[in-house]
Symmetry: C2
Subunit: 192 residues, 2 copies
DNA sequence: CCAGGGTGAGACATTCATGTCTCACTTGGT
DNA sequence: ACCAAGTGAGACATGAATGTCTCACCCTGG
């Protein structure tokens, strides 16, 4: 029981540190451990006590990102209703995680298969399944593979996050821009 | 006249070094100067003679990438014919530069406005103009801003390059997948 | 009031990439 | 055959980030 007290008062809130680290590293991926510590309002030593090293910190961020991504997928209820609507819901739910996500993606490129977290494949499987189901139900075209649609989905999320980040797209248009491009494409359509 | 002889035989071919560096760094962005040198088949000292430092090397790669990008835009003849066809041509021409491009993009994120090369804006202006013209001619939808379409274009190019890189998409499908998604979207359409 | 655990600050050693320099060697030109 | 230029290899210094450790301080609980 004493744990609960410690976690909230005197002791550094590990999760809070992670949030602040995510916010910082999403903007400046090369931030040093010292900068991360300062951003979290703690000392570098304390940061090291919580995370053995920079690698451990990134791993923890990966776990955090994956957890939030999974929750986003859960909330989006991908297996309910029309698949294109499910995609829209997913975009909306994923938006808050987008900056952290793009940081992790570029960071993961460097791990080069050292020990890739299985969580990514789980996430990927869920969205691949969504696109596949949409194809079977005649909602999505069948000439674009689910794997590619999944890749493009996260690519557009990242692009959208950056576009918003440096003011090329208004934050309020984030979901619409991504959803419309992904679902409808750029070409002018007769329907709708 | 003696320069031509030097450039081809004894002296290191600077452009050749750049190519090999581009190929290596596109796969492993954190490669050392030593690794870059080895990959080019030269000594580290010689690499430093050609490029004052890692920063200079990246700048040179940026110049190379921008030059090839501009040439790709030229060859795509963006101001001729229907705009959607122009986009297809552009995708085809940009494909070879895609890996280097995605390296430069992630690398540029770190420069944080120190001295961003103006070339990017020139390139961007060209493709923005293409999308804008397509909108005026009724080929592209007007509810997606040209700035976003441009961002999405390069985002998808990058995603496609990575998808091909780790075998999620066949290389021969690169152009088709990107063009179809960007132009037509994922939703099944009545036409076509 | 006292004891203990957690913290911030700073000193310190270590590691690694970078950048500089020297030197012997090879190659091409004269 | 000689000379000059460019090169590779290696030694060396530098700087930066990392990781470890100590120590004084503060807060909380007893």
């Amino acid at each position: 029981m004493s744990h609960l007290v410690y976690d909230r008062l005197m002791v550094v809130d590990r999760n809070q540190v992670l949030r602040s680290a995510a916010a910082l590293l999403s903007r400046k991926a090369t931030a040093t451990m010292d900068e991360v510590a300062r951003a979290a309002g703690i000392g570098r030593a304390t940061l090291h006590r919580q995370f053995a090293g920079r690698d451990a910190l990134v791993r923890a961020l990966e776990a955090l990102g994956l957890e939030e991504l999974e929750q986003a997928h859960d909330r989006a209820r991908l297996d309910e209703g029309p698949e294109d609507e499910a995609v829209r819901r997913l975009i909306a739910e994923v938006e808050p995680v987008a900056p952290l996500l793009s940081f992790l993606v570029t960071e993961n490129q460097l791990f080069e298969g050292d020990e890739r977290n299985e969580g990514w494949e789980r996430i990927d499987a869920r969205i691949v399944a969504l696109f596949r189901r949409g194809q079977e139900n005649g909602v999505f075209r069948i000439d674009l593979t689910p794997a590619w649609l999944s890749e493009a989905f996260y690519g557009l999320i990242g692009s959208g996050a950056w576009a918003v980040h440096d003011g090329r797209v208004a934050a309020k248009d984030f979901q619409y821009m991504i959803a419309e491009l992904l679902l409808g494409g750029a070409r002018r359509s007769v329907e709708k």
